[in-house]
């Protein structure tokens, strides 16, 4: 599993960090390129997975809890 972490981080940083000018951000502004492409879906996914798996957190800043048994 360490390998997966490494893969993700390497992938993320191979691109390097050049300054992207404001007028070059047309692609980054597309809906599909947002961290949360659909906030309601993200909220629902957290709610469902958090109640069926032992893990939670790491998505959006936390909201309220639920009984969810």
């Amino acid at each position: 599993m360490k390998k997966i972490i490494l893969m993700v981080l390497t992938l993320a940083f191979t691109a390097g960090c050049e300054t992207v000018k404001p007028w070059e951000r047309d692609i980054l502004a597309q809906p599909g390129m947002q961290i949360e492409a659909d906030p309601l879906d993200a909220q629902l996914a957290s709610q469902v997975y958090d109640s069926k798996e032992a893990s939670s957190g790491g998505n959006s800043p936390a909201g309220g809890g639920c009984g969810c048994n």
Binding site: T19, K21, P22, W23, D26
Partner: protein, 287 residues
């Protein structure tokens, strides 16, 4: 605005109404900031010079704040009080102004002398003037773009006398082709730039100039010398906002050639500059 304006809107539901809104925005700025109109706020500030502070609104306050940043950044070359020099340098004049007159008028220039408090401005000496044209003309282009975006227009371009701000790409998704005019023949383009967003402005002595004898003088006047800026022939700059591109191109044009070229190279924005020998300089950043 004293220059041809063009707004093209596409991809909108009701172009006529939206176009009217945009033109309304331009007229509002013109009425408020034109130095040609007696009723404008700028004329009022100038009339009150040496007399009393003029109350101003938040919008004007922020435009003056922006002009202040330009003044600092250009070591005093970009000075909205330098318009008094136009009394000496008229487009239809036939002889150079007398050095004494230049010295006399130059004393009325100096943004650092202007007294400001939030909500008011005082030009301390009678005869001093401010001219916001150098900031407002480009800022209007930005304001129209922002207004169009708020109205839901997704495609279009605003051209205010050569300062161009893009609302969004053509309806097909393609970029607009924006031409940079040849200094010798304004109907020809020396470069064509593809733009989907952002703004491009061009400053140059060649679009509006003063001709005395067989010499052309730039309409841009250097407040530090009182003479027309005799430097680069033209500068075009691309930035996200027309107001930013416009101040970068104006500041570069007010600098001596070498200084201007290194200022542009360090500016962080794509540019295209033409010197008096008609050499073309391009930024390394893709234009």
């Amino acid at each position: 605005m004293g220059c041809p304006c063009e707004i093209r809107l596409a991809g909108s539901k009701d172009p006529t109404t939206e176009g009217e809104h945009c033109l309304g925005e331009i007229r509002r700025f013109e009425a408020k900031y034109s130095r040609y109109s007696e009723d404008s706020l700028v004329s009022e500030i100038n009339r009150n010079a040496g007399l009393s502070p003029t109350p101003i609104d938040d919008e004007t306050d922020s435009i003056l704040d922006y002009a202040d940043v330009c003044f600092q950044l250009s070591d005093g070359r970009f000075d909205i009080t330098s318009g008094v020099l136009r009394r000496l340098w008229q487009p239809d004049m036939s002889a150079l102004p007398a050095p004494d007159d230049i010295a006399e008028v130059t004393r009325l220039i100096g943004w650092q002398k202007v007294r400001r408090k939030p909500g008011e401005i005082l030009l301390p000496e009678a005869g001093m003037q401010i001219d916001l044209g150098g900031v407002v003309k480009e800022y209007v282009a930005d304001a129209v773009v922002q207004l169009a975006l708020k109205l839901g227009v997704t495609s279009g371009i605003v051209n205010l006398g050569g300062d161009i701000a893009v609302i969004g790409p053509q309806p097909s998704g393609e970029a607009w082709d924006v031409g940079v005019a040849d200094p010798d023949d304004s109907t020809r383009a020396i470069a064509t730039i593809k733009m989907k967003q952002g703004a491009i402005t061009t400053s140059g002595g060649y679009e509006r100039f003063i001709e005395i004898g067989d010499r052309k003088y730039s309409h841009l006047l250097d407040p530090t010398t009182g003479w027309p800026a005799d430097n680069l022939l033209g500068v075009s700059v691309i930035a996200d906002q027309a107001v930013v591109a416009g101040s970068l191109s104006t500041i570069a044009l007010l600098m001596p050639e070498d200084e201007a070229l290194s200022f542009l190279a360090d500016s962080g924005a794509p540019y295209l500059a033409i010197d008096t020998a008609h050499h073309i300089y391009r930024s390394e950043v893709t234009l």
